[in-house]
Symmetry: C2
């Protein structure tokens, strides 16, 4: 039997690359996405399209009430998404798009799924370099989470621990894209924009669009998704 | 301003004692419960009654799809709850009532709520002594989770860490009950049974009922909730 990995799939560029990497390593894939009150339904559509593209063994779309209940982020509540014209203008510190404890909650769910699906690994597409300042995207967080997941589970108690893999952690966005393109990742299906126009078209000016566009420019590739407006790419 | 604690409230005896302890320490309380597809709606009713009894600042009842989706436990799926006549007959090892990664997922949500509510502590009523063999009820798990919660959050990054408190960890069920009775914990509102009769009446024969009844007997107190059938209490 093939070894199994649970991959957190958001429909974005990073998690799609993560899935491509896990599959290239020979894992059979169980995808996990969340219906957590995202402002934009397009994210879940793209997650489904990516999971389908890879013909995953199973795709869990898990309802999650927390973030809607606690509000407090521009990704789920009525807070304006910040816009900039150039990637250099991105704010520093923890941005308003931060969702409290998001990766902690996502990974905890993935551990529950991994235990049921007898998976050996959980893949998450976090990145510490182009990470927009979220605390739960740092290597120390992932290491500490791996430890806690081994203590929390039957698999951990009985000896076979789960590994928490964050292969994109130290790559630039350009490196992520280059790796993904080499593996044939379906970037045309992905979505990164925090504030899409009707129909899901990317704005080209939120933090996430700016980082993505700069990544494609630095990788010497062109982004296959359409944009409302594209800020001038700058050199990396 | 009073310091704030998030308390995980299930409607059971342990979490109610935990809430009593947190309030006795002077914390203002934010209660968190989960609607996760429990087989018995009575649990959430009792959680609401306990939160109301303590006039908590806010009670979050968070919808949670995971456990229903992954199945695999007698608490959420159609697996028979084991019954015994005496507490000595309880099985060893990890029981079928184990829900994969449950405390990990519950605590992760509590951390998200704590961050929004600016709480300093999260209280969870886990217990390593009378714990029925769940891996995520051990002290090492709680310690590792405290570490990961500090790394995962804005509060942790900015210096004020969150503490994860499991005050019942090393107490016997009798000690928990004695402490709770001293603090006036409303045990008449609580529910522990894994397999209640219609109307929510406790069966008196599942693991949870047996441990509870033995606890009251050892504490020299009588349990204020009704039972369908009560197994003969045994000496501790």
């Amino acid at each position: 039997m093939a070894k199994t990995a649970v991959v957190l799939v958001s429909g974005g560029l990073d998690s799609t690359t993560c899935l491509a990497l896990a599959q290239a390593e020979g894992f059979e894939i169980v995808a996990v996405s969340f219906d957590y009150g995202q402002r934009h339904a397009v994210e879940l559509e793209r997650a489904r399209a990516v999971a389908e593209h890879y013909a995953v063994r199973r795709h869990y779309v898990l309802p999650l009430g927390l973030f809607r209940e606690i509000g407090g982020s521009a990704l789920t509540a009525d807070i304006d998404v910040p816009k900039s014209e150039r990637v250099e203008d991105l704010g520093s510190g923890i941005p308003v798009t931060y969702v409290p404890a998001r990766n902690l909650v996502f990974l905890s769910h993935a551990v529950g799924v991994a235990e049921m699906e007898e998976a050996e690994a959980v893949f998450i597409g976090v990145n510490a370099l182009d990470y927009s300042g979220y605390p739960d995207c740092r290597p120390a967080f992932i290491q500490a989470f791996e430890r806690v997941s081994q203590l929390a589970t039957k698999a951990g108690v009985e000896g076979q621990g789960l590994s928490i893999r964050a292969p994109l952690m130290r790559w630039t966005k350009a490196e992520i894209i280059q790796k993904g393109l080499k593996l044939g990742a379906p970037y045309h299906l992905t979505h990164s924009c925090y504030d899409p126009a009707p129909g899901g078209v990317a704005c080209g000016r939120c933090d996430s669009c700016l980082l993505r566009l700069k990544g494609f420019a630095d990788a010497g590739a062109s982004d296959p998704v359409p944009y409302v407006a594209v800020a001038a790419p700058t050199e990396g």
